[in-house]
Amino acid sequence: MTAINVDDVTKIYGEGHTAVRALRDASLELRDNEFLALLGPSGSGKTTLLSVIGGLLAPTSGRVTIGDTALAGMSKKEQTRFRANRVGFVFQGFNLVPFLTARENMTVMGSISDAPRSEIEARADQLLDELGLTDRKNNLPEQLSGGERQRVAIGRALVTDPDLILVDEPTASLDTELGTQVVRLLATEIKTRGKAGIMVTHDLRMVEYTDRTVRILDGELLDEA
């Protein structure tokens, strides 16, 4: 089944002569269980594309459909619930909550999403283990290394068992070994739990764990490397 359908999406930031065309007539389709690598230079529109798919940013034109729901038809409230329950977003800047510990940064989803708190807690403990963070679970983000923070952010994205996983530069702060391990974990999650995933990366070595690669240049998608 089609998990993500991006149809002719254009995104223009700003107006007049300061306007930036970050996406140009971008179209993309992703099936369930599919893991896609998004490659492109800085400023090419990768984050913008993920934001549009994740319901954070409304496209200037074009349609985005997730499963059988069109994002454009959703109210602000529905978009918020959509992000809470169906999207796992790993942001480029991690965006952990500084006054919550590693574990709490994941379990906070118990108050935000509709999933039962006990389920979230059990899953958080399992993910902490898989991400090698069990020893650090009671540390605040400021006490964690860049790589540890990144893994917490990945844990937070996976803890609600979302349909979509959108990961912006997951391996930037990780060395090759840890990076490989984390991308493998993402791939396993996507394959075994019927999700669709998009991973932005610069690291060509990570591409082998994905099903397909799409390149983006100046807001235009160029299929298959």
Partner: protein, 369 residues
């Protein structure tokens, strides 16, 4: 709850300091209120807590006891007004008295010891006999004690203190009560050659179940040249009471405003500092409502704790309470002040909620900028 409590816990010092500040300001609010009540009590307690239901003034005195002069013949006219059970004379004289070695001011009240306006209840000692007075217990501060003798100046009349009453001070000076006939004798001794000794007031008891204000109006209408007032109206109408109340209300109002502003600014500063977190939480699906609830929970926790601290400090302050300066924790006052501060602080917190609502969750997607 999840975010609110963890944030509170992890910023203990900050929130603790603010709780302390709110506590001190709430204490100030409570203390100012108590102070104003005490001061007013010292000023007009003799009127407000009088044992009579209605006090009758000379009409032209404009509710000023010390300007009011009535003829004794009016007592019978007033007693004849329907609803009046009994009417009795009241005389007030402010003079200098010697107690021990010291000279001090004394407000001396002559009343019918068994009639309306009697000094009752006696909280310590016994009712006065000939040559004796009972005093408002706050006089202790000026050295008036049971068993001591007051010497009036310049006449040299001696009066023994045999008992205390409560809340019956007048004009913020020591206040003593004695039999009306003796008061007349004191007056004549102090001002030799006075042809007539005027009454200050006529104290009236009304029939059970009748509204004193109504009977007061009847007296005003029925008897020429007088104004009958219930105790509260008489007390509030005393010249000077209004300006004292207004001054205190102004200070209390300003303090109240400061508490609310402190809370508002504090939360606004914290909100702006945590804006990145709020943006991130909104991006991962937290609604503005959820974040607003968290913030309001923090406001409630902080103001409630602060009010407890304030009431606690007031409680400690009451340990130093004495008749000269009575202080007490009035539970209703604490609740009213806490409720008012809480309500306004929650409204002030909405300022921060507005700031959160104006964030764009899409900002979370871009890296650290």
């Amino acid at each position: 709850m999840f975010i609110a409590l963890r944030d509170l816990w992890r910023s203990k010092l900050r929130f603790g300091l603010l709780t302390g500040a709110v506590g001190l300001l709430v204490f100030l609010l409570l203390f100012l209120n108590t102070l104003s009540a005490t001061l007013l009590d010292f000023f007009i307690g003799a009127i407000e807590s009088n044992s009579a239901d209605v006090l009758v003034y000379e009409e032209t005195a404009r509710r000023n006891l010390q300007a009011s002069r009535l003829d004794a013949s009016l007592i019978d006219d007033i007693a004849a007004v329907p609803g009046v059970v009994e009417a009795a004379p009241v005389g007030e004289l402010t003079l200098t008295a010697q107690i021990g070695e010291d000279l001090t001011d004394l407000s001396l009240w002559g009343v019918d010891l068994d009639g309306p306006g009697r000094p009752a209840p006696i909280v310590e000692g016994r009712p006065p006999g000939p040559g004796e007075v009972v005093m408002d217990e706050s006089g202790m501060a000026e050295g008036f004690k049971i068993g001591e003798t007051i010497t009036l100046v310049p006449s040299g009349t001696e009066l023994d203190i045999v008992g205390f009453v409560r809340d019956r001070r007048y004009a913020v000076i020591a206040t003593a009560y004695l039999d009306f006939a003796e008061w007349v004798a004191v007056f004549e001794a102090e001002f030799p050659g006075t042809p007539v000794v005027p009454l200050s007031l006529i104290a009236v008891d009304v029939d059970d179940g009748l509204d004193p204000a109504v009977v007061g109006d009847r007296i005003t209408t029925a008897v020429a040249g007088v104004e009958g007032l219930d105790r509260t109206t008489a007390a509030r109408g005393t010249p000077g009471v209004d300006s004292i109340s207004q001054s205190f209300n102004l200070i209390v109002g300003i303090t109240f405003g400061i508490v609310v502003l402190v809370v508002a600014f504090f939360f606004l500063i914290l909100t702006v500092q945590k804006l990145r977190s709020f943006v991130a939480l909104r991006a991962i699906g937290a609604s503005v409502g959820y974040l607003a609830r968290s913030l309001i929970i923090q406001v409630i926790a902080l103001v409630t704790l602060g009010s407890l601290v304030g009431a606690g400090i007031l409680r400690v302050a009451t340990l130093g309470s004495n008749p000269a300066f009575p202080l007490s924790v009035d539970g209703r006052l604490v609740l009213t002040v806490t409720g008012a501060v809480l309500g306004s602080s929650i409204l002030a917190g909405l300022l921060s909620v507005g700031r959160i609502a104006r964030t764009d969750p899409a900002d979370a997607a871009q890296g650290i900028r």
